[in-house]
Amino acid sequence: MDGVRVKKISNLGLLLAIALILGYVETLVPIPFYVPGMKLGLSNLAVMFALYTYGHREAFVILIMKVLLTGFMFGNLVSIGYSLGGGTLALIFMVLCKFLSIFSKIGVSMSGGVAHNLGQLAVAAVLLETKSLIFYLPILMLSGLITGFFLGIICHMVLERLKGRAL
């Protein structure tokens, strides 16, 4: 029993490390045109992996730790606010969609991608006290859908390969 717990804890630590690295890798990928809040959301892979392998509690822990650590290392209080708003909304949507069980991993991931961008835009609208950011809504929803689609495929492939292994 203890061995299982130790394994789980170390696996979650590993996932957190992967989330942090992916967050860094993401900054190296140039985006040709700038829209506020538009991101690849690579580190969401780790959160989604935790969601499918362990459950929503573990995924939430990974998310919060990732946001706080990334924020304190590379960002500031404002960037923590954005990531927290986007990430939490994304996870809530993913948990709901997974619970409904009519979506596959790709659908869950797409809902997360869209919700993430919506959450970030909402935080931006509150912080800047403006509604004019609504112009970015369509492009952010579409980009979240597309990144979510590809991340969902990657997550599906990773989970397939790890099938049957005790994690």
Binding site: F33, Y34, P36, N76, V78, L100, I102, F103, S104, K105, I106, G107, M110, S111, V114, A124, L127, L128, E129, T130, K131, S132, L133, I134, F135, L137, P138, I139, M141, L142, L145, F149, I153, H156
Partner: protein, 121 residues
């Protein structure tokens, strides 16, 4: 478990339809703007005429942004925010267009005749 389910496709269709609708109904104005409003921390601080070439540097705790107005366009330059995304957003000239510098919480908005208020939009 199938890789893609019908609900996934439906979700994608709904999101695409929604964004296309928002894009059409919330379409950016094609009317040339007349004024540039500068917002700091969400507060309107200054207004400039677009046809009057101007150069103004704003200083904040964390650094500076320079607002340049020339040839009826406005843009930000010489910014020392970490990501320089406000510079990458290019220039704005149409009503309702916005440039935002999140690190410095600075926002410039183009306004026109119809006074489409960015705050109460």
């Amino acid at each position: 478990m199938k890789v893609i389910k019908i609900a996934d496709v439906l979700l994608a269709v709904v999101v695409i339809t929604l964004s296309v609708m928002i894009f059409i109904f919330g379409k950016k104005s094609e009317i040339d703007g007349e004024r540039v409003q500068v917002f700091v921390d969400g507060q309107l601080t200054e207004t400039y005429e677009l046809d009057n070439p101007t150069r103004k540097t704003y200083s904040f705790e964390k650094g500076n942004n320079t607002l340049v107005i020339e040839e009826g366009k406005a843009y930000l330059t010489e910014c020392d925010c970490p990501d320089k995304l406000c510079e990458k957003m290019g220039s704005i000239e149409k009503q309702g267009e916005v440039i935002t510098c999140l690190p410095h919480r600075l926002q410039i908005v183009v306004q026109g005749e119809s006074e489409m208020d960015a705050v109460n939009f």
